[in-house]
Amino acid sequence: MNRLLFLALLLIQQVAFAQTDTKDELENLLSQEQKPVKEFVKNAFKSSRVINGHSMEFIGKGVLDFRILHRFGALNTGWRELFGLDQASMRMGFDYGISKNLTIGIGRSTFNKEVDGFVKYRIAHQHKGLKPIPLSLIWVSGMTMNTTKITDSKLNAFENRLGYYHQIIAGRKFGEAFTLQLSPTFVHRNLVDLPVDNNNMIALGVGARLKLTNRTALILDTYPILYGDHEGYNIFPLSIGFDIETGGHVFQLHVSNARGMNEKAFITETTQDWTKGEIQIGFNLSRVFTIVKNTESSW
């Protein structure tokens, strides 16, 4: 009797053992020879721009991003101007992803009839796993050209139309919901309006994103000016907005005191004052087209 009991126990044990063994066997087999991979952080921002300024995000290889930025007039213009909705200013542009880490773009703004172009390169990409890097580092350089008529013939030279900006973006996605980036930016204008204006300016961009739902997020984009501002004239740009994603579009609705839609313009030419209600509603619309088919997974 004792022996039978012993045997029965042994059998039960064996069966139980066999069951737990097969249950996660596949998982064990996989983890045995799994090499650590780089798990890149994605969707730090929904768009390649925070609102006005560049974000740490890239559009991806072979992707063409058609961007329409639209700014209405100032809210404090009152009901006769329908709180600014009667006026409009825009920038139309194309960005193209040459590789995962390299994007070029051109655009033209109605504000100052300005054409701008830029190159954006990712030096480091935040990732977990193999040799983790805690933040992303991006370098951006751009050039702007004013194409308005210059009435003063003494100043009518090609180089007087040009401006440049260089920027380093250091950003980190903290968990799923929050992203913060700092982007020190240097702007140079070959020609300025007044003798007291400085040709060189430095601003420290701050961009943040707080994810609300899977398709919406709150965004902040501001560029406090550290050096070179003409006091009483330059006001630092501050934009607060809302990202909405619908299929192939990213729609960014925001309020801002900045009229300019390239780095040179919004850093050096923002004169509207939030505290006086000189802000406007604006939106950015982004539509992407796949030029080269994607072959890479999201790892």
């Binding site: 996989l30 994605k42 790892w299």
Partner: protein, 181 residues
């Protein structure tokens, strides 16, 4: 008595050494056909394990390994629909119910009745499905085509894209498994 014990041990030992088949590079693709848009994703690193003795069948599918022609779709798939950081993998744990009637030593095509638990997007459902099992030169090929109703797995489609994403998605499985030595 000792003989019984011995034979029992031998049987158990045999069970443990029973032939198993494994792949880490199986293919699963899916197709969403909606009035305005057809979306296709392909995953070529699906892991699958078959135990010939018990008939147990397991799949592990890494969600991030699905590749789409359009990167934005891939991003949305991971971020908005499958939430791949929260639910990194889909799994199937079950059995080939008619394993006994399949002769793995003889090349041929067999019907395989599978049943088990399918987990997608953190939701587990009992499923039963008929598929094909091909035996080819010592390897086995699993083929199955079925539909997944997104709502069953708490994957919601926002109103704005309801004409672009199908409510049920066609899934095709094709995995070639090699015997484990």
């Amino acid at each position: 008595m000792k003989k019984v014990l011995l034979s029992l041990l031998v049987i158990t030992a045999f069970q443990v050494n029973a032939q198993k088949y494994l792949t880490k590079s199986g293919t699963i693709d899916f197709l969403s056909k909606a009035p305005l848009e057809t979306i296709e994703g392909v995953n070529k690193s699906v892991a699958a394990l078959v135990d010939a003795q018990t008939g147990s069948l397991d799949f592990i599918v890494q969600i991030k390994s699905f590749v789409f022609d359009r990167q934005l779709l891939q991003e949305h798939f991971n971020e908005n629909y499958m939430e791949s950081t929260k639910f990194p993998k889909a799994t199937f744990k079950g059995n080939i119910e008619n394993m006994k009637s399949i002769n793995l030593t003889k090349d041929g095509e067999y019907d395989a009745i599978t049943s088990g638990k399918l987990t997608i997007h953190g939701v587990t459902k009992d499923v039963k499905q008929k598929g094909k099992l091909l035996v080819k030169g010592g390897k086995i090929v699993l083929i199955s085509n079925f539909s997944v109703l997104l709502a069953d797995y708490n994957i919601s489609i926002p109103g704005a894209v309801k004409d672009k994403i199908s409510k049920d998605v066609k899934v095709n499985v094709k995995c070639t498994l090699d015997p484990i030595k």
